[in-house]
Symmetry: D2
Subunit: 382 residues, 4 copies
């Protein structure tokens, strides 16, 4: 399974082509739209989220409600596009390019991208490095989670911290389900405090980061591989999560705590229960041992930096004149931890769906399920 | 650039084939042996490190002290092999397999690998998932860092924490250089305490984890790309580091701290200085913005779990009888944070060398350097 | 450089995402439309070509007439779509699927695809395996040839044979340029005879194949590599050409003839001329030696099978009842050798553009050209 | 499944790492040595083949006669190495490099490789582009065919032509089996004439090419895919075969003939027989339709150029002085069509084994076979 996304933040639309899904998988626009809507929620989001109400259109690979086995193509129009048709036109123009970005934003790709491409106007860099692109990933991820659902795999997430406030605990899967989608943080007091901090930051023209937890339930043991470094699931999930624009760190299980205590306390003993098979009284390893799923919940923490586009912008330098100035402002969010969790779910889903594809092969969902069923029986008889 | 490693922990040897180096790169066995020796150091290492004294042999791709442009093949004999020739023989045998692993070690690939492959003896899993394989990565990484050195790129590392003791600060590049290679941790008192903790753990038959910092200096801005998720260097470095057997988390720059404070404090303003070009008064982003190097030091923290092979082993379950028992013991280390830093350097070097290859193309070192020189001038004239 | 195509033959549109082009490359819809139009020409084409008049729309990666460095997304609407909206709808329907394909066409993916996916209606297979998809490849190829043009590389092609009639000779590059685009075959008499054969076949409800020659001029020596099998350009070009639906054989240079004569006659001696550098009095190797371009014209012959959709259909078997019948009819062409040459040009362009990217690196066209210029000087000074 | 080869023609040894085989596959050195021996046969081979008697050593991935699931590493020592230790040493030397290649051989990578790498001595190019490297591919292919054998897939080959003499017919699988391994060409008179031509060429210091046919029997329908160009098996097999140093053309089935006749005669009608399922009275498509296996014999023709190293060498030009001279001589063969068939078998086996891996997934041979068995039943019930 592989996918390519395309699209600029203020271009006509985002597009994603997802290649490698089996045929016969039920897939509806509503499946995707539901995830796109989740990505638009969150305390501290900017005005743009109201304009958008993202809706997907399938233009390939889905027919009569099921995948065909061909590449799935999804388009997500940018509702904002109508105000940008000239600035973002594909055709050449005699006018100078509109709305140039000349004062790069710290924390963004602006400066590094301009140096890389030899540009004194960072508009092209901003347009592609914008987190708007993550809508295309969420769309692809929605198809991936539809596949995973066919194998009993469920994904949930929550917010673990916003700025200086932390959730009282790292919740279990079930405890993520009833949380407020605008700020799905365990602990009422903590959630309330987080909300307050975000609104305060917004009022101050400032931004906040935080951390999120993705939990995946129902994964069979044996996905991924210890046999070669680039087949290990820890690395592959790590790449997927660290490629999220806001992400700057990834933690599997309780790695931070585990690194501070002796092995005798922080590794998860192996028990056994008739009927249930092998049991683990704890899950500090977060569901991965040796790069392979071990049948426990997969638990992935992503740490997000504060949004780099500030209303009260940071000091910057003009790309052309080299004079000091204030960084470019662009309509933006004060905190993206809430949508960050949704994007993290999507990226995890894409990696895991690929791992299911590798382990179970098959061209149709029926074939893939038959192989999966065989493996389940193998596990039961182990 | 790509590489494949092969070899079992107690097999005859490790092998790595590294494909894609330019021709004309000076490369000596001593370059590799120096890195292999660093990997064998560290307070808390087991007896095996004394047996080994790893030495590389080039069997392909290097001639008369320079790369040929063909795949480089490196062999690292396992000195221990002579005691394992029967157990690890390639040929079939009438005897039952020697030294089976029937009590899987928590934290290791043993149980997940056996379930995956349908095995009641985890010897084959242990042999490949063992951290011994990282010697092959370090060898490949030594060639990669030789390439980077030709472009003025230097790599250093240190230990940031061991168990509950943390370094007083996250040091600058220079401050990593004079540290004690057996425990390269900033702060004399902290290093002493860390040493004590490790020896105490060893005596108790227990193990410790910790964290390490890799710093890369001399990277040009513009490596990696914001244009597609899987070309971002943050993700690619994250995969490389999280694929290290002991690694369970990765942090870029000061991500943990940055996630707790407002953007106005944690992003790195953009200044300018005649002659020096763009300047950054701080480097909380760790040298990466938008998935691209920004010309600052690259700073990568890896968090390592405690070693999962304990002399006083954890509860486990027999793979065949399902009876409770104590996990398998295998000669091992009490703490691998010191070699973990060396392996992290190697993995970072491999990703960065590939990024240099992508940005500068070229078949010979001379061609690659000419292209690099052209880009340097482009940056100077920006 | 990589690309994914999506789209069904009677779906709403074709889409292609092309990732990896440098920024700053001039690219107009007209560049693509010109190639799409060439693909629709040819004696013996079916009615559909008149309906279509393919036109591309850029929705990403091109701004103000130049590539941005982000993924380029191109949409090519299917004009025919309006007659198929229900049959090809993405949404589920209570109606049974329209226009099922139950009698698989020999030579097509129909039967193998249905067995693979477990289907008794091959509509989904036909829709994706249809040669309509090659329009997306031609669009991607048009961008690739725009890149190649920036480096002085030109591509032309002609028809070498149609059924039993063969061109009198394999022409030089220049001799391809003035040929009739409806049947670009060297030799007036042969072209006339070929036209007659095609029209005769059409009248008989039959089809014809043939062979085509793609010639690429202006390639620098040194693209591709001998160092590893999968980097050799002969193999990569071979894959690209043999993946064309009609293609069943590929020949590089005069391989067929060369295989029948002694090496002393069929290899190309190496001369030298002051100013011009190394010279080759002949080019039987077709511009590739050891998997590397040698500076001569690249000459690639593709052999095309007769179109498998016949108006007087072949014997087939009903997928459900297993009763004998006549194979499915779908509006089609009698001969696709003419568009086959255009698709072969596109596929060759895509492989070669990727090879330029690998050899010269660079993020912007300016950087890539600077590196290319350096290599050109290296060659001159050799 | 993927593999990397390393090794120079006169280096110490060849190495191949093959990653992705399932665990539990029986694999003996004898399996590989048998194929290596076949590669050394053939009328017209040079003296070197007598020195070598290639033997493989497994150093990783095989234990007690079965694959472990880890990467398989195979070493094939070069018996000739002892005469080349100084010339091919990995260490730097004060002496000038021995046996430089200054007069490039037409048809080889020598000239193009030297231009590419900026070298006036082509020794490094020759050493890696030499067909000696194909021994490593044959070793990898031997493991792949061992996997295929577990699924009832068999591979055979024969010589179709040598220079101007052609086999009377393209034989069926069975008819390849009893042929003389020194010249496995159907038709006694033709084989005799071919032998005479080769010996005559050798006496004249000249070389010959020819063509070979690989036949694969027992493949299930449904391998490969029509869904995306780079998943089609025709293209992937084409790349694999065209990457063989001597190969310059590839034909699938009877493509040459099929391109000259109407579709009504050259496509393979689809019949049905109770018990046997779908039947095809002919197999002009060579077992592939739409890029997918169709259950018929896979038939792949490779066209080989004459060996480019001539004892009476062709005109060449000195790389340094640019003076005219005679091309470099190196001990070589007069005709490599016979080993060429063995290498073609190996390359086909590697592609097909990968396709089995993709279709059936699985980590152990047992799991892979269970999935394959399920698909077989699906086909039977179709």
């Amino acid at each position: 399974m592989r996918f390519l996304t395309a699209g600029e933040s203020h271009g006509k639309e985002l597009t994603v082509i997802l290649e490698g899904l089996p045929s016969g998988l039920p897939l509806l626009a509503a499946d995707v739209d539901g995830q796109l809507a989740r990505r638009q929620l969150g305390v501290g989001r900017g005005a743009r989220q109201k304009i958008e109400s993202d809706r997907v259109e399938f233009t390939a690979g889905v027919r009569l409600g099921e995948t065909t086995g061909g590449p799935v193509c999804m388009r997500i129009p940018n509702k904002d596009w109508k105000s940008w048709t000239e600035i973002m036109a594909a055709e050449p123009s005699d006018e100078p390019p509109g709305r140039p970005l000349t004062l790069p934003r710290p924390g963004h790709a602006d400066l590094a991208g301009c140096l890389k491409h030899g540009l004194h106007d960072g508009r092209n860099i901003l347009e592609r490095s914008s987190a708007r692109e993550t809508a295309a990933r969420v769309a692809a991820g929605a198809a991936a989670r539809r596949l995973l659902a066919a194998f009993g795999v469920e994904i949930a997430s929550c917010v673990l911290s916003v700025g200086s406030v932390r959730a009282a605990e790292r919740p279990a899967f079930e405890n993520c389900l009833g949380l407020d989608p605008e700020l799905p943080m365990p602990g009422e007091a903590e959630a309330e405090e987080a909300r307050r901090l975000i609104l305060e930051a917004r009022k101050a023209g400032d931004t906040l980061g935080g951390s999120t937890l993705v939990i995946v339930r129902g994964l069979l043991p044996g996905l991924g591989s210890h046999a070669h470094w680039d087949r290990r699931l820890d690395g592959r999930l790590g790449q997927a999560l660290l490629s999220i624009p806001s992400a700057k760190a990834v933690e599997i299980g309780d790695a931070m705590e585990a690194s501070t205590k002796p092995g005798s306390e922080m590794l998860d003993p192996i028990g056994y229960e008739e009927g249930a098979g092998f049991t683990r009284p704890s899950n500090r390893m977060g569901g991965l041992e040796g790069g392979i799923t071990n049948g426990e919940e997969l638990r992935l923490v992503t740490i997000h930096k504060p949004v780099p586009t500030l209303i009260r912008p940071l000091p910057s330098t003009h790309l052309g004149t080299k004079e000091a100035g204030k960084a470019h402002k662009e309509r933006s969010d004060s905190c993206v931890v809430v949508p960050g969790a949704v994007v993290a779910e999507a990226m995890a889903a894409l990696v895991l769906a690929a791992a299911y594809g590798e382990k179970f092969g098959g061209d149709s969902l029926a074939e893939m399920k038959r192989n999966w069923e065989g493996y389940r029986k193998q596990l039961e008889a182990f």
